[in-house]
């Protein structure tokens, strides 16, 4: 083997873990904690429950998606801490893996707020 390539491969092997780590998952949130405490119970109107079922649930009820899971207060806490304005902006414009409008083509701001509060179990404050 070309000595040059040998050096590169060795560097690759030694650095692979670091490379993978550094590349890391900086676009998606980490997987939710298995022992995450349940968020405060909230109830959605039948209309919003339907929105949740057809849009939010595809990621926020699928742990492998990397999205903060509905009811996982621990995963939502740092998001809620950013404030409603940032969360709503991320919802409207999309953020990392989160698609714009949360894949709901007809929702309004009030509905998005209610859905976030439902999933996070926390009130949204401005």
């Amino acid at each position: 083997m070309d000595p040059y390539l040998r050096i590169i491969l060795l560097a690759c092997l030694l650095g692979a873990a670091a490379c993978l780590g550094a590349c890391g998952d900086h676009r998606t949130a980490g997987p939710p904690s298995a022992a995450a405490p349940p968020a405060a119970a909230a109830v959605l109107s039948p209309e919003l429950q339907a929105v949740y079922d057809r849009s939010c649930k595809n990621c926020h009820a699928v742990p492998a998606s990397g999205a903060p899971q509905a009811g996982d207060a621990r995963a939502w806490a740092p998001r809620i801490a950013q404030g409603a304005d940032i969360l709503i902006e991320h919802t409207f414009s999309g953020y990392k893996s989160m698609p714009p409008l949360g894949a709901c083509m007809d929702c309004n701001e009030k509905q998005y707020r209610a859905l976030i509060e439902f999933m996070s179990g926390a009130p949204l404050n401005n």
Binding site: A16, C19, L20, C23, D25, S93, K96, M105, D106
Partner: protein, 463 residues
């Protein structure tokens, strides 16, 4: 309790109102102000501020909406997964989100009718419960059924057509607010055109599909030299029900995926999660070593062959076809004659490597059976579909601009839901039945209610 701004000032005076409600943010909250919602597609590359975004609950509401909004452009939206500007309008964006689910089925003929707003991701389970399955599916299932057939969305498999080719009937709500049932016997010209319509003929409200009996699939993935795979392509597509390759840019290797029907009953679920980790790794190597192409290629070849796992899976077909794509991107795809596919991909990959183009998401290379639908990208010829992608946060224009002419050289037709730069003058010669479609469109919507600026350019129609 809600107060208008005028009421608050009148009652407390401005200072009092600000104080009582916690300053200006509190006042805005009390006045129940809402921000303007900018509509954006999945990648964020397309946007608009529509006048309204209704979601009718049934066909009567949909027809009434169309009749009552005369003079305003109406564009239907599914899941917003088209990369091309099919949706943006300053008029009305109509969502069929509330018209979703299985309507009826015919076990004798293995057909099923769905509301057009049904996400493809929500079709597999109800179909399995009635013993049916879609014969083929795309590698993502975020699209709605209406969006998928409007753009001739497809999976891979030389013996399988697009979703549109499986449509045996549909209901169309026209610009006049009429509800038309269309199939091979009723309004056959409209039916054939509406199977791939870009949403330009009216709004499809329900779709009847020709399915097959429910089945299971085995997925096998492996990494191999790209040139070896292309050399072996005739055998690979002949011997596998569904076959595709994803070529790692700036490298010598591809990930091959073969899906075949199996009688195995023991389920081996697909690996959980999306593709973010793998794409992040590609991005990391590209970012660090882009200026050292030889090192980059060596690293990518080695990592793909030895450090990344691609486990097999066995499961119900609909669980194996679809993947989670949790890295957003923009995409350009062209459909070239099947026999030209390998040469075209070679040229695309060579261009990316020779020019050291700034992209790291793999190309996708698939096969689709030809059909007889006027505006289908697969009309009249078996096809090879080649896709290039750009991470959503990177500019795609320069990258795609250097690749698109290669597709033209191979007589490619652009995927309707993906980015391209062709207008009517360049598109018309690619479609032998182009005028047939335009005639149907003109008859159904002479006022252009369903045309936005993009579609006017595509069809060569003035506003």
């Amino acid at each position: 309790m809600q107060f208008s701004r005028r009421e608050l000032i009148g009652t407390f005076g401005l200072a009092g109102a600000l104080s009582a409600f916690g300053g200006l943010p509190g006042l805005l909250r009390a006045a129940d102000r809402e921000r303007i919602v900018v509509w954006r597609n999945w990648s964020g590359g397309q946007s608009c501020i529509p006048a309204d975004r209704p979601a009718p609950a049934n066909e009567e509401e949909l027809a009434a909406l169309i009749r009552s909004s005369a003079g305003r452009v109406i564009r239907p939206v599914g899941s917003g997964h088209s990369f091309s500007p099919l949706v943006p309008t300053e008029g009305t964006i109509v969502s069929l989100a509330k018209m979703s689910g299985l309507i009826s089925h015919d076990n004798a003929n293995l057909q099923a009718e769905f509301w057009a707003g049904t996400p493809v991701s929500q079709m597999g389970r109800p179909l399995k419960e009635i013993g049916q399955a879609l014969p083929n599916m795309a590698d993502i299932d975020y699209q709605t059924l209406a969006g998928a057939i409007a753009t001739s969305t497809h999976g891979t498999g030389a013996k399988y057509g697009s979703y549109s080719s499986q449509v045996v009937g549909l209901r169309l709500v026209t610009a006049a607010g009429e509800i038309l049932d269309c199939d091979a016997h009723g309004h056959p010209e409209i039916f054939n055109a509406a199977r791939v319509s870009l949403g330009a003929l009216g709004i499809v409200s329900r779709v009847r599909l020709q399915n097959r009996n429910a089945f299971r699939l085995r997925s096998k993935n492996w990494v191999q030299d790209t040139e070896e795979l292309l050399e072996d392509m005739p055998r690979l597509i002949r011997e596998n029900d569904h076959f595709e390759i994803n070529s790692l840019l700036h490298s010598d290797v591809s990930v091959a995926t073969a899906l075949n029907e199996t009688q195995e009953t023991k389920t081996k679920p697909k690996e959980g999660g999306g593709d973010a980790d793998k794409v992040n790794m590609l991005e990391g190597v590209h970012t660090r070593y882009r200026n050292s192409p030889r090192i980059q290629a060596t690293l990518l070849n080695f990592i793909a062959r030895h450090l990344v796992s691609f486990p097999d899976a066995v499961d119900d077909s609909y669980k194996v076809f679809a993947n989670v794509r949790d890295v957003r991107f923009n995409e350009m795809e062209y459909e070239v004659p099947a026999e030209a596919g390998p040469a075209c991909l070679r040229e695309v990959l060579k261009k990316i490597r020779d020019q050291n183009l700034n992209s790291f998401i793999p190309t996708e290379f698939r096969y689709v059976k030809g059909d007889d639908i006027p505006l289908s990208m697969f009309q009249g010829r078996d096809t090879c579909a080649i896709s290039v992608h750009q991470y959503y946060d990177l500019d795609y224009h320069n990258f795609f601009a250097q690749i698109e002419p290669i597709f033209w050289k191979y007589d490619g037709r652009p995927h309707w839901g993906k980015l391209h730069t062709l207008n009517a003058r360049l598109l018309a010669p690619l479609y032998p039945k182009w005028k047939d479609f335009l005639a149907v469109r003109e008859a159904l919507d002479p006022g252009g209610r369903f045309l936005n600026a993009h579609l006017r350019s595509v069809f060569g129609l003035r506003g």
